[in-house]
């Protein structure tokens, strides 16, 4: 059961990350905290997603000094990232809609 849950989460994490970074440039820790509020995941799994999306060209990174001292690496969404996010969002919405419809119909029939 837990395994299925993890699969759900992994699938939608990419979408969440894309949506969050599109709103505002973020650094790693900030992003992880934001995602954790929405979905309960192991925070270590978020960085691989960030890495993969950066390698695919969906994110650009830049360094900025922070008030607290350490230099932070910020993630910024690119044009390609916006494309990917749009695709994933459409897929998710279609998916969510059809699944919900099916469940609703099944519930009604009982």
């Amino acid at each position: 059961m837990i395994k299925i849950n993890t699969q759900f989460k992994k699938g939608v994490l990419e979408l969440l990350v894309l949506v969050i970074v599109e709103k505002k440039d973020m650094y790693g820790y900030e992003l992880v905290e934001a995602v954790s509020k929405i979905v309960d995941v192991n925070e270590g799994t978020i960085y691989p997603i960030l890495k993969r999306l950066s390698n695919e060209g969906c994110f650009e990174t830049y360094l900025e000094e922070s008030k607290e001292g350490p230099i932070r690496k910020y993630y910024h969404i690119t044009l390609k990232g916006k494309c990917t996010k749009k695709e994933q969002l459409e897929e998710w919405q279609k998916f969510e809609k059809s699944v919900n419809e099916f469940i609703r119909k099944s519930e009604n029939n009982e």
Partner: protein, 474 residues
């Protein structure tokens, strides 16, 4: 979780070093990047109140993390480096994908309308060429008032090329701007609604599968087109870079040869320091350019500040060297052929004859020397030439033309000769023609002069007779 799978409790250092080991197949820069991120995360968590062990635990299973990270890099093919070429081509690819995504599910009428608008934009861009043509025409007129020769037509061509280039850049920018404005106002294809209607008529389960397949296929097509364009662009740019690098190599080899020669001169004692500076500047400039283009070719980061500073320093050297060289050149004197030093002599003696005429010398070179009973002809020449052979052409009227043949020009001697001169900032003229002097006593001298004058008169008469026919005056 299996009871046997106990999560080992690690602190920050243990976690990071373990992770680094698991990732050692990746490039070092990437691993450093990843480790930094996790380190930053753990430190932030700690500063927020947790212990290192708790922060590491929150990250989860280290094996899973490593697996996920490694799988992220299977995607990495040509992308993932901060290179200008990559950036340009990536941008291009993004645009192509965005472009194609807008066209999904559009009706024929929409597409037609879009094409018409595109044609309109092109028309506007072409009309904008008019001001460029007018301005270029005005410049042409101004140029022509200065006359019409090769240099001007060359300059004219350059101007024309510059104008065409400006127009091209302008046209591209204008086109992109107009296109973008039109493009962004256009809504993406209404693919959702059409497909949705279909799905309601069919079982919902099937729909999920169909939907998944369709976007994948179209995505693959887009990817292959973009990939093709991408690899093509990359190939062209790399080819041009290789060509440029080859040219720079040849240039550097040339400068090195010139520098070797300069050092040789320096050793021999010729001091023209300005030229040394110039050569140094040219060599450094060449190396900087080579490095820059090489880095562009092999996808490495270029430190542009360093490049800029190096070029500025080279220019400064060039300027200083140039000034010093100019001053040195101004101080160098050109010394015409010196007949007194480095001289070899060839002497030919011929007997005097009453009707003898000698040609090939001027009067001042016919010298009276009472000690000479017959005629002594003296050839003086620079000893750079190893051999000079006097040739006396005697014709049937006993007219001797003093001729010669020079053999075996000795390069080493010539260079040493010039270097000797340059040491004293003198440029010595080397003349292969020997100085010819004829020595004889007064009696012979006068007779020779008389014969010579008679010869001249006879020649003039001959000439007039030959050309009289041409001068028909009416």
């Amino acid at each position: 979780m299996n009871l046997l799978e106990r999560v080992k409790i690690m602190n920050k250092e243990e976690f990071l070093s373990k992770l680094r080991k698991k990732l050692n197949i990746l490039a070092e820069s990437e691993v450093d990047d990843i480790i930094n991120e996790y380190q930053g995360y753990i430190e932030e968590k700690v500063s927020a109140g947790a212990t290192e062990e708790e922060a590491v635990k929150e990250l989860g299973n280290i094996n899973e993390i490593a697996d996920d990270l490694l799988s992220a890099y299977k995607v990495k093919t040509q992308k993932g480096s901060d290179d200008i070429i990559e950036k340009i081509v990536n941008k291009f690819e993004e645009l192509v994908e965005l472009f194609i995504s807008k066209f999904e599910g559009k009706s024929a009428a929409d597409i037609l309308r879009f094409c018409i608008e595109l044609a309109l934009i092109l028309l506007i861009v072409f009309i904008c060429k008019l001001p460029f043509v007018i301005i270029e025409g005005i410049f042409k007129q101004i140029f022509y008032t200065f006359g019409d020769n090769n240099v001007l037509s060359f300059v004219n061509n350059i101007w024309h090329f510059v104008f065409e280039l400006c127009y091209l850049v302008f046209a591209v920018v204008l086109f992109i701007k107009l296109f973008k404005r039109k493009f962004d106002s256009v809504e993406p294809g209404p693919s959702n609604e059409n497909n949705q209607k279909k799905s309601n008529a069919v079982k919902p389960e099937k729909v999920v599968l169909e939907k998944k397949r369709k976007p994948e296929v179209s995505k693959k097509d887009n990817k292959s087109l973009a990939d093709l364009i991408y690899t093509l662009c990359q190939g062209i740019v790399k080819f041009i870079l290789i060509w440029i690098l080859f040219s720079i190599c040849c240039y550097i080899i040339g400068i090195v040869c010139a520098s070797t020669f300069y050092v040789y001169l320096l050793i021999k004692g010729v001091h023209y320091f300005g030229i040394g500076l110039i050569l140094l500047a040219l060599l450094s400039g060449g190396i900087v350019f080579f490095e820059t283009f090489f880095k562009l070719l092999t996808v490495r980061k270029n430190n542009w500040t360093r490049v800029l500073i190096s070029l500025i320093v080279c220019l400064v050297f060039l300027g200083v060297g140039g000034t010093i060289t100019a001053m040195d050149i101004a101080n160098t004197t050109y010394v015409p052929y010196d007949n007194e030093t480095n001289i070899k002599r060839e002497i030919k003696n011929i007997p005097m004859e009453d009707n003898l005429t000698i040609l090939g010398i001027s009067e001042k070179d016919l010298i009276i020397d009472e000690t000479v009973t017959d005629i002594r002809i003296e050839y003086s020449y620079n000893d750079i030439f190893t051999k000079m052979v006097p040739i006396l052409d005697r014709d049937e009227f006993n007219v001797i033309t003093l001729n010669y043949s020079i053999r075996n020009y000795n390069l080493k001697k010539a260079i040493d000769y010039e270097i000797g001169g340059l040491k004293e900032k003198k440029l010595l003229e080397i003349d292969e023609s020997p100085r010819i002097r004829v020595f004889t006593n007064k009696e012979n001298h006068d007779k020779l002069m008389a014969n010579f004058n008679a010869h001249i008169v006879k020649e003039a008469r001959q000439d007039r007779m030959n050309y009289e026919d041409d001068y028909i005056e009416e």
